[in-house]
């Protein structure tokens, strides 16, 4: 209860970034049937740019996803239509979308939209 997760101060860092990754709406089936994951993301991508959401998405697809149906998560280089991305419970569109630079302690939630009723 007392663990505190504030984003790291504005600063240069090269330590990996600790992130809470969550899947909902059936996406967890693609990730070992586990809803919550705690991962360490490299702070920079291969070209030395600071890690943004799209880098994270590709990283998850390559390193965390066990299912071979990659196009149920990534399609044509982007997030598959029907999946919402939430950064600390806010729609990623409110946070800069693909360009958002992930911060230590961020909770990134991927929600597959449900249609049943």
């Amino acid at each position: 209860m007392n663990e505190q997760q504030g984003p790291s101060a504005n600063g240069v860092r090269s330590n990996p970034i600790s992130l809470n990754i969550e899947f909902s709406g059936g996406l967890e089936i693609l990730f070992s049937n586990q809803r919550d994951h705690r991962i360490q993301l490299p702070a920079k991508d291969s070209s030395g740019e600071p890690a943004n959401i799209m880098f994270l998405v590709h990283y998850l697809c390559e390193n965390l996803m066990k299912d071979r149906r990659k196009d149920l998560f990534l399609l044509h280089g982007g997030i598959r239509p029907g999946i919402l991305v939430l950064i600390n419970d806010a729609d990623w569109e409110l946070e800069g979308e693909e360009e958002y630079l992930v911060q230590d302690g961020d909770i990134i939630l991927f929600v597959s939209t449900l249609h049943g009723g």
Binding site: G82, L114, G117
Partner: protein, 293 residues
């Protein structure tokens, strides 16, 4: 719709007393409920509890549209149908139950699928629509017509042990619509229905009850909704923290349903729906020309 004059009988005062003494409802709110005309699209796992609580609360006109008949595999979750009504159209079964719960509302049966041909005409008779359906194609159709008609949508869905709820086009021409949030449909192969994926009865029930709550809040205009933001509620019955409240984007200026798209010919209009240019099934990856719901 708000100018319709209504009065409450003594029986109604007694029946609704426990909710009328709430400051959030009051006599004014009860009158608003009686004046309101609500359409429930889909009399399944979501529509059943939503209809029960809205009828109970005293909504004046309650329309239900569904072309399906009651099956025994529905009954673990579609709780206003019954074993003795297996084989009966769901709309008829639902209204049988609802009329016995509360005889006051005007119940309007629509025993047919909602289609591009009838949607505009049917939805013109209502002030609010509950999307209780089970396929993205019909969800886009409901959205586009509701935007044209200027009525809010209370949209919910459920699958397996999860549920989702979002209020759209609320208030009309201010809040985001379904297409603002989901501009592109999911690939057909990613769409799983309750028949295939399964569904825990009270999970879809929970979402339907939440739709009734949101509908009552909209009808009684409390809280007054002025901001163009909406939230999405996630429920996961087996999640460590079962409820999540997500802050969603606002209306998109270029939305082809509620906005002004750059290419004006993409704008969805009454005509583009009625003349069949909008093929919702094909849009969602199904075979073109197939009717939906």
């Amino acid at each position: 719709a708000n100018e319709r004059e209504v009065t409450l009988s003594l029986e109604e005062y007694k029946r609704y007393g426990r909710q009328m003494i709430l400051p959030e409802i009051g006599i004014e709110g009860q009158m608003s409920l009686k004046r309101s005309r609500v359409l429930i699209v889909g009399a399944g796992g979501l529509g059943c509890p939503a209809a029960a609580y809205l009828a109970g609360a005293g909504v004046g006109t309650l329309g239900i549209i569904d072309h399906d008949t009651v099956e025994n595999s529905n009954l673990h979750r579609q709780i206003i149908h019954s074993t003795s009504r297996v084989g009966v159209p769901k709309v008829v079964s639902a209204i049988t139950y609802l009329r016995d719960l509360n005889p006051h509302p005007n119940y309007v049966p629509h025993v047919e699928p909602l289609t591009t041909e009838n949607a505009l005409q049917i939805m013109a008779g209502y002030d609010l629509v509950l999307d209780c359906t089970d396929h993205p194609a019909i969800r886009y159709l409901i959205n586009d017509v509701a935007v044209i008609m200027n009525i809010p949508i209370v949209s919910a869905s459920a699958l397996r042990t999860d549920g989702q709820l979002v209020v759209l086009n609320n208030p009309p021409s201010v809040g985001p619509c379904y297409r603002c949030i989901w501009p592109r449909p999911p690939p057909a192969e990613s769409v799983v229905g309750c028949g295939e994926g399964g569904i825990l009865g009270p999970v879809v029930g929970l979402m339907g009850v939440m739709q009734a709550i949101e509908a009552i809040k909209i009808i009684t205009k409390n809280p007054v909704q002025e901001v163009g933001r909406t939230t999405m509620t996630l429920f996961a019955a087996y999640g460590a923290s079962p409820f999540r409240c997500l802050k969603m984007r606002g209306r998109k200026a270029g939305c082809i349903a509620c906005g002004s798209p750059e290419r004006m010919e993409e704008k969805i209009t009454r005509e583009s729906i009625e003349d069949g240019r909008m093929d919702y099934v094909a849009f969602c990856g199904g075979r073109a020309g197939v009717r939906v719901l």
